[in-house]
């Protein structure tokens, strides 16, 4: 559960990232980073799983979460009449370059740090 009143803990070493690229009126990426253990907690909660969730399924769930966040961020920023092409989520590394970061935030979710950010392609970032 997200608690906006709780200060997010520091980033952990085992965090994983997922990015969803979009293109349309502007092009860029929405990304989500979180500890790997949280991907399993979220997947377990979502699927009502009694057994520990396998890694691939936890990552698939986290990728879908990134997809949902992207789908909500774009109309919030650019209006619901804007039409974007949204790519499938992909895993990203800690140092992957995603473009010019336009905004990011950190949340505490189930006691873990989750980072969410929006990057635009460098050639479009100045115009945004």
């Amino acid at each position: 559960m997200v608690d906006p009143t709780v200060e997010p803990p520091p980033a952990s070493a085992d965090r994983v990232g997922f990015a969803v690229a979009f293109s349309g009126p502007l092009a860029g990426t929405v990304y989500v980073r979180m500890p790997e253990v949280l991907t399993k907690i979220i997947a377990g909660n979502l699927l009502g799983a009694d057994e520990p969730v396998e890694d691939w399924l936890a990552r698939d769930t986290a990728g879908e979460l990134a997809n949902v966040i992207c789908g909500h961020v774009l109309p919030t920023l650019f209006g619901s009449s804007a039409v974007f092409r949204i790519d499938a989520p992909r895993g990203i590394g800690a140092t992957d370059s995603l473009g010019e970061e336009m905004g990011a935030t950190a949340l505490a979710v189930e006691g873990h740090r989750v980072e969410v950010g929006l990057c635009l392609l460098r050639e479009q970032a100045g115009a945004a």
Partner: protein
């Protein structure tokens, strides 16, 4: 089960395994038999399954590889043998334009994240008393 109950009840089309599993679980809690729930990970294979097995209910993602959900919905509604299926678009895409297109083609649009109650309600409105009460304790929540 009522003799008129379908063999294939529902098709879930989404490129995310997690979403397919989540919708499946909600349908099972609603009382849809597990072996009547089909899945596909893209629109093209969904059309193949629909033509072969004719489930009356289809849950369709929009952003998918090979063939997206709106193209698949359009194909369903153009095919006289498939157009009677109830199609529910499950999408994270917040575009009003795509939602309007989907509604114009006769689909119900549910925006992710979707509450399981919404899936259960769709199952109830589609199948009514043909649903088989689930023994899963979680079904009591609905």
């Amino acid at each position: 089960m009522n003799a008129a109950a379908p063999v294939a009840w529902a098709l879930i089309v989404d490129d995310s395994s997690a979403v397919r599993m989540w919708v499946r679980r909600a349908l099972e809690l609603a009382g849809v038999p597990a072996d009547g729930i089909l899945t596909a990970s893209d629109g093209a294979s969904a059309i193949g399954r629909l033509r072969r097995e004719r489930p009356p209910l289809v849950f369709l993602d929009v952003n998918m590889p090979i063939q997206d959900g709106l193209e698949t919905l359009s194909q369903i509604k153009k095919d006289p043998k498939l157009r009677g299926a109830k199609v529910v678009i499950l999408t994270s895409d917040g575009s009003d334009v795509r939602a309007a297109v989907a509604r114009g083609l006769g689909a119900l649009v549910l925006r992710k994240p979707v509450a399981p109650e919404a899936i259960v309600e769709v199952a109830r409105s589609t199948f009514g008393d043909r649903l088989v009460p689930s023994s899963d304790p979680a079904a009591a929540d609905f």
